[in-house]
Amino acid sequence: MQPTISAERNVQRGEFRRFRIGKALIYFVLSAWAMTTIYPLFWIVNNSFKVSRDVMNNSFGIAWNVDLVNYTNAFDRINIGKSYINSLIMSGSTVLLVLIFGGLAAYVLSRFTFAGKRAIYSLLYATLLIPTFATVVPVYELLIKTTMVNTYWGLIFPHTAGNLTFAILVMAGYMSTIPKELEEASFIDGANRMQMFTKVFMPISRPVFASASIFVFLWSYNDLFSAFIFVNKENVRPIVALLNEISSQYGTDFGLMAAAVSLTVIPVLIIYLFISKFIQKGLTEGAVKG
């Protein structure tokens, strides 16, 4: 008996070792990819605390002597604070409009039966195929004619329209899973459709409203193409358009560029760390179905 047992143990140990090496390799590969996402951000933030000369000569050295000159430049010279506010106003309003209008439409599409509903769905799916490129010229013309170009509305309206399709589809998908009994109960309590929407559907649909708003916000905040065509004057320019401007005008001031990128990325990243689970859940609820 004795030898067999030890032989078995040896086999086990061999397997164990192979297993360990395999696991180690997996962790190595995963950590290597993680480095490609973490290190560039560390590099840029680190360099944003150096004067441009040091960025150029020693971009790997850690900035022990924190120098805020790039940040004061970013706020004084290129007025990044103003662009921040512009971004928040325009992307925030877009989110708000998409949630209100899209929420109402999603409610109708998920809870009512009426002629033409299928047609509306088909239209919405077809709408997903229209890229901004195919609408930009006429929208630009329209904005000029209505003098909305280079005003906040000049970006809010196109962005809202552009994001409504996605939001409606995701929200309607979620609302259609809400049990009918809740509706009937509130009907017996004498609620009309509007009250049903605000008192029953809005509170229950909070998770999908949250994830839709995160995505709409990110898309709006990060969209360069529309921004630098529709709102590219200093007083309304959002942060992505400013970044684009920096790269063409201050392309040699590395410190300033590093600071501007850091300022754009860090707030989003901090918020992301708090809600990352939420984002990923929302993504898998919505995007795959949509």
Binding site: L104, R193, V265
Partner: protein, 285 residues
């Protein structure tokens, strides 16, 4: 319910109006403009299919199409490929899953413009990160944005940006596979590699299809990376930047619109083709 018609109308109206004014009307207006020769917004002349026949003789457009297809190839092979590998690996480990999920996803939330600017600093000839690394090893500096490298140089951030997005989609798809499938495989004594290629990947094929379709349509919209890093020079012009240059820089709205319509048609055709090639039966558990 009584009076529902009123509510249906009322609740759909705001979205319908916004989308009609800022999506559908402009889309059809683009279609309309594609049949006109324009000078600014006010001077235009009907020219039938001339803009469309110009598409075929436009060498720059051909090049832009080719570059877009090349980036698309990179995206399908590397972005989708890396995402799939990472998802399989993360799925197989016990600890740190959430850490990797969060870390891999975060480039997705950063704007393409910021990432592009980051890569401008990486690629800079004199002081960039890459040449800095090379200098540390005593290797001669490389001109990263030269004619021969530039397209790959803009493809790298494009790929890197969205790996995390598809990674999460794959992970979710994998988490839906019932565990008895894996237990059966374990009883059969199938090793991890075979289990992945014979079981996991076939089972998530429909998600892979969705992801490839998203990757194709997404690549047609590439704009920021090319615009910020090279402005379309050195053989990196893509459809997005070319359309922008024709329509907004040259103010040639007619031909610009034609290019946009071409992009839509091209995208739909490619997506249909991909779906045809990857045709498979839906799997339900």
């Amino acid at each position: 319910m009584k009076g529902d018609r009123k509510y249906i109308f009322m609740f759909l109206l705001p979205s319908a109006v916004l989308m009609a004014v800022f999506l559908y009307y402009p889309f059809f207006k683009s279609l309309y403009l594609s049949f006109y020769r324009t000078k600014g917004f006010f001077d235009k002349k009907f020219i039938g299919w001339d803009n469309y026949s110009r598409l075929f003789s436009d060498k720059l457009l051909g090049a832009a199409t080719l570059h877009t297809l090349e980036i698309m190839l990179f995206v399908i092979i590397f972005q989708v490929g890396i995402a799939l590998v990472l998802a399989v690996l993360v799925e197989s480990i016990g600890r740190l899953q959430n850490f990797y999920r969060s870390v891999f996803f975060f480039p997705v939330v950063i704007s393409g413009t910021a990432i592009s600017l980051l890569f401008v600093l990486f690629y800079n000839y004199n002081f960039g990160l890459l040449n800095g690394i090379l200098a540390n090893f005593g290797i001669e500096k490389v001109l990263w944005l030269s004619e021969s490298n530039a397209l790959a140089a803009v493809s790298i951030p494009t790929v890197w940006h969205y790996v995390g997005f598809y990674f999460i989609l794959f992970l979710t798809a994998m988490s839906k596979i019932p565990s008895d499938y894996y237990e059966a495989a374990k009883l059969e004594g199938i090793n991890a590699f075979k289990r992945t290629t014979m079981l996991t990947i076939p089972l998530i094929m429909s998600d892979i299809k969705v992801v490839i379709t998203l990757a194709i349509t997404g690549t047609l919209k590439v704009f920021e990376f090319v615009w910020v890093i090279t402005s379309g020079q050195n053989g990196t012009e893509v459809l997005g930047t070319y359309m922008y240059k024709k329509a907004m820089v040259d103010q040639n709205f007619g031909y610009g619109s034609t290019i946009a319509i071409y992009m839509v048609v091209f995208g739909v055709l490619l997506a249909l083709l991909a779906n045809r090639l990857l045709k498979r039966e839906e799997i339900t558990y």
